[in-house]
Structures are given as structure tokens and as C-alpha cells.
Amino acid sequence: MKPLSLRCLRPVIKKEFRQIRRDARSLMFMIFLPAFMLLMFGYALNFDVKHIPLAVVDEDSSRTSRDLVDKFRTTEYFDLKAVLGKTREIDPLMGREAIRAALVIPPQFSEDLLAGRSPSVQVIVDGSNAMSGTTAAGYVGAILQSYSQRITLEALERRGLAGFAVPLSQEVRIWYNPELRSARFLVPGLMAFILMVIVTVSTAFSVVREKERGTMDQIRLSSISPLELILGKVIPYVVISLASAHLVLLLGEILFGVGIRGSYPLLLLAMALFLTGALGQGILISAVTRTQQVAFLIAVLTTLLPTFILSGFVFPIRNMPAAVQAITYLVPGRYFLAALRGIILKGVGFGAVWPQFLLLVGFAALSLGASAARLRLGDEERPRRRRRVR
């Protein structure tokens, strides 16, 4: 194998930079798109499940029942959309997703309460949105619980048994993210997601474009080795995407208070490794496709949804079946995100994240190596058998 020579590397790097610079719009996108996305989604997205649209069917219509309904009206967990008269009015509303939960207060409600019996209300939950379904049921339970407690305590007070304290108080402490602001959680995830997609997709074009335009042969005939070609193509993009990543970090710090608690050099290393791997993947895709269109589709399909769903960005990996968890190891975003969260949010050191680093190195080596091998083998037009058309 030909040893790496800087002399051959430089022209490739220069050419790639020049081509990038000439397409101003693409350059702007590469640098600013991730930051822009972070801005948009950092503000828009959170995991809070609140304001669940709710309808109440009050078959009791007493002061007590209205009291209970008020509890649901004022809480921020629910948005009381309608107070209905009959239960069969629920169906069409839920069918249209106008409401996602419904509360049915039975006619004997206040009567039962007064008599000291325990009434039961019916909670209907739209299971088609499983996330808010579970949570909604939970919220209802919690609200009813506190309502019950209050009623009982009032009754006790009336009997002069005041000073009856609630026996248990729970103090909830959230580590690393005290206000449980989703933004802090989302920022590393968004960063990994956006960078993966944009970086891979941009480089997926780089080799195919040359193939489509016919300049590939020229390069292959020169003394540039495949490895030099790859590195030469990758390096400009690494530089650009590092700039972009820093912009994202900066915005994350300024706007969302996501500061880096851990070591910055460590973070830089993680980013560089990840980006290199992603770029390698882009180039590999580029090397095995013939048209830009297909390269784009494959790049999008292998990065967008898989990174979104399998990297731990939104769905905890822990909950997935074992087979799928194994597959998540193929998604570099997964370890990058774990490393990011560790370094940025938890401030851990190398000792805690070295497995992630190892995997990142492995991924980078694999993707770059595969690309080099593929480029060396070449994609020549092997003389094909005349295909019978029709």
C-alpha cells in the first residue's frame, strides 16, 4: 500500500474546499442548518405531557361534582375542552383526537361521598397515543388521590381532629437536570441527530458527483491513493462540521443553559471521532452508488429514522427488545449521544465513557476503511452482458 503523502493529500483538500466554497448555499446550510434546527426544536420540543385535552361527563351535577371538575379545569396537566351531558358524546370527540381522555362522574357521586361510601369515577383514555394514555391515567389517579385526602382531612377537621398531618412527604430530587427541563436532555440528542444526518448526507454526494461528472477516472489515473482521496475529501467536511457543532454548543449554552460540565478536550475528541465516522459512512454510500439521487435516498434512510429512533434520543434503549438493542450498536449516534450526555450533562471523565470512545473509534475505522477498499476496487463499468430489454 502506498504510504500517505501530504503532497498528494493537499490538492484533494484544496479542490474539495474550492468546490464547497463555490456552492454558497450548501456551505451556509452545512454551517447554520444544525444551529437553526437546534433553535427551533429546542424551543418547540419537550417531553412534558401536559395540557391533555379532556372532556368531562358530569352525571351528578352537584356542587361536589362541580368541585371535582374544577380540579381538572385548573390543573395544567389537562385542558378541559368540554363538559358533556351524555357518555355517548365521548366517542366522536375521541375519534377525531379532539380529546384524549374523558372523565365520567356517576350520578350517585355526591350522595356516596356524603354517606361515607367510596364512589368510583370512570376514566376513559385514548390508548392510541400510548404515551399520554399511560400518563393521563396516572395524572387522574394522582388528582383523585389528593382530592380524596383533602375530603377526608376536612371531615376530620370538622370532628375536631385537626392537626392530622399527612404522614408521608416525598422529596423529589432530579440529578443533572434539576428542573427536568427537557431542553437539557434534548440538546445533546438533537445535536447528535442533526449532525449525523447533515454530515452523512453532505458527504454522500462528494464521490458520486465526481462519478456522475466523469472526473473520477481522472483522479483514479493520477497517483492519488484511495486513502488519500478519502482523507482529502473528509478533512474539509470535518473542519466545517466541527465549526457547525461548536455553533450548536454555543447556542445550547446561551439559549438553553446547557453548559459543558465535563472536560472540553474530551468533548472535542468525541465530536471529531463521531464526525469522522459519519463522514466515512457518507463516503461509503457515495462509493457504492452511481447516481446522486440514490446516494441521497440511502443516506437519508440510513441516518434519519435510525438515528432518531435507535440512538436513545427519544426512546430509551433500555426498553427495546434484546435483538433491537443489539442493532442499536450499529447506530453511531447511540454511543455519541451517551458520551455527550455523560460529558455535557453529568460531567463525567474518560473513565466513565471510554467504552463509547472505543466504539466511536471502531466505527470511524470501519467506515473509512470500507470506503477506501471500495474505492480501490473501483466501480468500473465491467463489460456487462447485453441485457435483454423486455
Binding site: F47, Q122, W175, V324
Partner: protein
């Protein structure tokens, strides 16, 4: 008419001839669905937790058991000191910790207030929120039991403890399988990504190759050109949709309670939108690379702001307004409605209308931009 048919025929020939494009279009959506159907899971169970019981009384054990037996938490370790918790949370080996301080049991017995601590790993705020909710609920149940116990003893005073209970019924998805929620969403996403990308890249490709020039010089009218280029993608989209619904129904056993023809008809309305956006992108891009970036720029909001995973009603007002212009918002409701809720035209007509209006506007604007000129 002849011209349109020629273009459509040419697109299909080209499609079939590209050895990579064909499988990418038809096999990858199914692969994605298979993969994501299993992975996209919001059910939170068996959260790994650590218990730090410094009291070791019967009361504290009873308290901790409430968590262990709930099915929501999986106790991985029991530690003696609070400092030991760090080890587990830092590495991600545990996501929650429950701390019972010394004196817990005594305080309860003496009628005084006892306190416990619930610690959650906020770095995964999504499961943290849910975990904290569950934990609070379980702690609340324990509180309830303690109160009831107390009341048993003061029943003499004639006070009857009251408990408002709730009976929960889950509609449409009784086992609350989040897969049932996710997979319809994935269907929408795949359809959107495919048709949008094909439309935006397909037209720009001809511009880059120079064949667009040759087409413009023929008597083909702009609308013929557009229809000819886009119609194959509509067909492809429908076939993909059919594949995906089939996999969803027979492999994942997602219920299909509503009308499938209606689903396809509304998919057409949806594709009107995605193809319109793709067409628009092609009119503002000179090279395929530009088209690609612009396509991503449009795809991201369609995924993230459309209500797929992140509920729209939790977004700031501004974004809620913006989401009205995002076609996936309506389509997700439609798919979930038809598949899971058995919804039909009466329930979904407003979503369909929104899709049609939005699509018509998008398409109209794009066609306006699409002149038969080189500049």
C-alpha cells in the same frame, strides 16, 4: 396526452434500470418498519433503580416493596450509604434511586411526618418524568394505606375514610402497546420522506444533466411535464403505503379498524402536499446538492413538529400555529384514526380538508414558479 405518457414511461424505465434505486424504494421502507416497529417503544417498565434503606424497619421494607412489586421499577442494587448511589447514576446503571432515612418507621408509628427521597437521573428527562410520576403514585398509595390504617383505629369516632377510586378504561389500544401508536406514525414518515425526496431530486437531476434543456425545447407544456414527472411517484407512494399497511397488519398485528380505501384516498391528499413541496424545492435549486439540503430542511420540521412523538399541545403557542402549515400533522391524526380508532369520513373530514387546501396552495405556488425557462 401522448407527451405525459411518454414522460411517465421514461421515468419507470429509468427507475427499473437503476440497480440501486429499485430496491431502495421498495424494500427499505419495509425494513425500516420492521426495525422501528420493534424499537420505537415508549412503554416505561423495569426502570433500573437503586434502594438506599437506612432505616431497615418493617415499615421501610414495606415502603420499598411497593416499588419493587409495581413492575415499573427493577431494583438493581441495595446500598448502605447515599454516596454509593452516585456510582450507579453516573454510569447510567440505574435511573432512579429511593432513599429511606433512619427513623422512618418510628416517625410513622409516632404519628409524625416521615420523609423519603426520590432521586431521578434527569439526563434522561423523558423516563425521569415518567419514573417520578410512577414513584409519586406509589408513594401516594403507601400514604393512603397508612392513612386508612390510622382510620381503622379511629373508626370509633364515626369518621369513615373516603377514597375516590378510578376505574380506567383504555380505548382503541387496551394493552397500551406503544407500537400501535408508533407504527402508523412511521408509515406517514416513510411515505413523506420517499415522495418528497424523489420529487425534489428527480427534477433537479434533469436540470443538472442537461436533459431538462432538451425537454423544455419540445412543445411539452409545463403542466404536462409536472404531471409526467410526479405521477410515477404517486404510484410508488401508493405501492409503498400498501406494503407498509400489509406489514403493519399481518406482522405487527396492528388493528386496521377503519376503511383502507379511505386511507389510500387520504394518502393521495397527503402526497399532494409532499410532492408540492418537492416540486417547490426543485424550482429553487440548481444542483442536486442544493436540493438535498433544502429537502432536509423541510423534512426535519415535518418529523419533529407534526405531532409524531412530541405532542403539539405541549409546544409554545408560536409552534402550535406553525404546525398548522405542516402536512404531517393532519396525516398522523388521519392514520391513527383510520387504523386504530376506526374513524371514518365524518370524524376526519376536517383533517382531510386541511390537507387538501394546504396541498392545493403548495402545489399552486410551486407550479407558478415552474416556468419553462432556463434561468
Amino acid at each position: 396526452m401522448r407527451a405525459v405518457l411518454s414522460i411517465i414511461w421514461k421515468e419507470f424505465v429509468q427507475l427499473r434500470r437503476d440497480p440501486r434505486l429499485f430496491p431502495v424504494i421498495f424494500i427499505s421502507p419495509v425494513l425500516q418498519l420492521l426495525l422501528l416497529g420493534y424499537a420505537a417503544n415508549l412503554d416505561v417498565r423495569d426502570i433500573p433503580s437503586v434502594v438506599c434503606d437506612m432505616d431497615r424497619s418493617q415499615a421501610s421494607r414495606g415502603f420499598v416493596d411497593g416499588f419493587a412489586n409495581s413492575g415499573y421499577f427493577s431494583i438493581r442494587a441495595r446500598v448502605e450509604r447515599m454516596e454509593d448511589i452516585d456510582r450507579y447514576l453516573d454510569n447510567g446503571k440505574a435511573a432512579m434511586a429511593f432513599v429511606v432515612p433512619r427513623g422512618f418507621g418510628d416517625k410513622l408509628a409516632g404519628g409524625k411526618q416521615a420523609s423519603v427521597m426520590i432521586i431521578a437521573d434527569g439526563a434522561e428527562s423523558q423516563s425521569a418524568t415518567i419514573g417520578v410520576n410512577y414513584a409519586t403514585m406509589i408513594a401516594g398509595r403507601y400514604t393512603q394505606r397508612v392513612i386508612l390504617d390510622k382510620f381503622e383505629r379511629i373508626k370509633a369516632s364515626g369518621v369513615r375514610p373516603v377514597l375516590v377510586d378510578s376505574e380506567v378504561r383504555v380505548w382503541y389500544n387496551p394493552e397500551l402497546r406503544s407500537r400501535n401508536f408508533m407504527i402508523p406514525g412511521v408509515l406517514g414518515l416513510i411515505l413523506m420522506i420517499m415522495t418528497l425526496s424523489l420529487a425534489s431530486m428527480g427534477i433537479v437531476r434533469e436540470k443538472e444533466n442537461g436533459t431538462m434543456e432538451q425537454l423544455i425545447v419540445t412543445p411539452i407544456r409545463p403542466h404536462q411535464l409536472i404531471v409526467g414527472k410526479l405521477l410515477p411517484f404517486v404510484l410508488i407512494g401508493l405501492v409503498e403505503a400498501a406494503f407498509v399497511v400489509a406489514v403493519a397488519k399481518w406482522w405487527f398485528l396492528i388493528p386496521v379498524r377503519g376503511s383502507v380505501p379511505l386511507l389510500f384516498a387520504l394518502s393521495l391528499a397527503f402526497m399532494l402536499n409532499t410532492l408540492g413541496i418537492g416540486l417547490f424545492i426543485s424550482t429553487i435549486s440548481r444542483t442536486q446538492q442544493q436540493a438535498m439540503f433544502t429537502t432536509i430542511f423541510f423534512i426535519m420540521p415535518m418529523i419533529l413538529l407534526g405531532g409524531f412523538v412530541f405532542p403539539i399541545e405541549n409546544m409554545p403557542r408560536f409552534f402550535q400555529l406553525v404546525s398548522h402549515a405542516i402536512p404531517t400533522r393532519y396525516f398522523f391524526v388521519i392514520i391513527r384514526g383510520i387504523l386504530l380508532r376506526g374513524a371514518g369520513w365524518p370524524e376526519l373530514w376536517d383533517q382531510a380538508a386541511a390537507l387538501l387546501v394546504l396541498g392545493a396552495v403548495l402545489f399552486f405556488l410551486s407550479v407558478l414558479r415552474f416556468h419553462k425557462k432556463l434561468e
